[in-house]
């Protein structure tokens, strides 16, 4: 393990007692991550070799992200090769956006961002796209 001087254990406050981790770490070096209660059903979810996803419905924001990604990809495929200077500039501006949106979808899939946070990120990108 890294030295305790430059490391912190991230432990969800609703899990910290479950394994005596906090006591064993001497109540030091711990950063509580969230006060949100994690229900027992969710605790049971995790790993199989090919990653058992957390089961949840596809949210509307995921669908919207996919739609925007498709739209931008279509635009890029049309204008990347033959286009005016303005269109080329737009292509340069948005060339990384489909990948960014794809990463956002993956983050939602594995709960690395909440749907609320994802919506905010999506809205910012959408705004830039609408104002192009």
């Amino acid at each position: 393990m890294p030295s305790s001087r430059n490391s912190k254990w991230l432990i969800n406050s609703s899990l910290k007692y479950a394994y005596g981790l906090e006591a064993c770490l001497g109540y030091q070096n711990i950063e509580e991550v969230s006060n949100v209660f994690v229900d027992e059903a969710n605790l049971q979810v995790f790993i199989v070799p090919e990653i058992k996803q957390m089961t949840k419905e596809v949210t509307s924001v995921e669908q919207e992200i996919k739609n925007l990604k498709d739209k931008i990809e279509y635009f890029l495929s049309l204008h990347m090769m033959l286009s005016t200077n303005d269109e080329k500039q737009l292509c340069d501006m948005f060339v990384d956006t489909p990948n960014e949106l794809e990463r956002l979808l993956v983050k939602i899939k594995y709960n690395v961002v909440s749907v609320g946070e994802a919506t905010e990120i999506y809205r910012n990108i959408k705004k830039q796209w609408d104002n192009k």
Binding site: P2, S7, K8, Y17, V33, L43, F46, M54, R103, Y110
Partner: protein, 308 residues
């Protein structure tokens, strides 16, 4: 009989490059680049992971004075070399594979005579010690391949870790730099003087569960700054921490091995394009105590942290 490196790479999915790596030098890196990188799945196995606990006093090389780096520091050095080479390696602890392979099975791909899953790379031509290593591993039912020691450049063949340690202790930096891979020269110096330039957030995986809120927080943190690493600490059950190197791991409530869980974690990070992470074991001793603090007063386990 050892396989050639070409035969091994064609027949076996996983290659293992094992050593104490005290210090990591150009000779180690050379085998990593020439032999290990040709396997689909690449393992660096760090022998004698906790040098502070003497494993076997008949084995001179495990003397504490010859083993300044703990497991974590050596893992960090190999991670740096692998990133520099654009390779996605796995790093695992290895106690004393020449004597016994038991706990190692928790960390490595499954292997049997009928279903060979891994191959140990040994520079057989180097000396008698390496030839004995080949014989020892083969007698344990493992597959060994020759790293083609004779093909390595003379400058790499002449390096011994003891020499590098000597250069470091005598502050002979020119000679030290000639022996140590460029990408880890500065890091080696820093770590050897207990100056770790990085900061870490450690996310525990206990049994088969990970707290996604912690993972989310760690990923956000690592993306927001430089010199940061996420450490995924996967619990491993052991019978007795004072002699744990020869005891088989018990998996507690876990259905999966450390190897399977670390593979799943690597997949998640790959999909999220996160590369600043390390995966390390921490040991759960089978000791039951009553947790009074929690309202449900349930049983829990004592944790011991693998410092080595």
């Amino acid at each position: 009989m050892a396989l050639t490196i070409e035969e091994a790479q064609a027949q076996i999915n996983c290659g293992i490059w094992q050593g104490r790596f005290q210090f990591v030098h150009n000779g180690h890196e050379s085998v990593f680049k020439s032999a290990l990188s040709g396997f689909n799945e690449q393992f660096v196995a760090i022998v004698n992971p906790n040098p502070q606990v003497l494993v076997d006093d008949s084995f001179v090389r495990f003397d504490k004075r010859l083993n300044p780096f703990n497991y974590f520091k050596r893992m960090l050095l190999w991670k740096t070399i692998a990133d520099h080479e654009g390779q996605n390696i796995s790093i695992a602890p290895c106690w004393h594979a020449r004597k016994s392979i038991s706990l190692e099975n928790e960390f490595l791909p499954y292997h049997s005579e009928d279903n060979p899953g891994r191959c140990w790379i040994v520079p057989i031509g180097q000396d008698d010690n390496e030839r004995r290593k080949e014989a020892d591993l083969t007698s344990l039912g493992e597959i060994v391949c020759d790293s083609n020691y004779g093909e390595e450049s003379i400058s790499c063949r002449g390096i011994a870790a003891s020499l590098v340690r000597q250069y470091f202790e005598n502050k002979q930096w020119d000679k030290f730099n000639e022996c140590v891979p460029v990408c880890v020269q500065e890091l080696t110096r820093l770590l050897a003087t207990n100056n770790d330039p990085y900061t870490y957030k450690i996310v525990p995986i206990i049994d088969d569960m990970i707290d996604f809120a912690s993972l989310q927080s760690a990923i956000n943190w690592v993306e927001q700054g430089e010199n940061r690493f996420i450490v995924i600490a996967i619990s491993v059950g052991v019978e007795n921490c004072s002699q744990w190197w020869y005891k088989s791991a018990t998996r507690l409530k876990s259905h999966y091995t450390f190897y399977q869980k670390s593979k799943a974690i690597k997949n998640i990070f790959k999909k999220l394009s996160v590369s600043n992470y390390l995966i390390t074991p921490f040991l759960f001793k089978r000791m039951i105590l009553v947790e009074f603090i929690h309202i449900r007063r349930h049983f829990c386990r004592q944790v011991e942290i693998l410092n080595g």
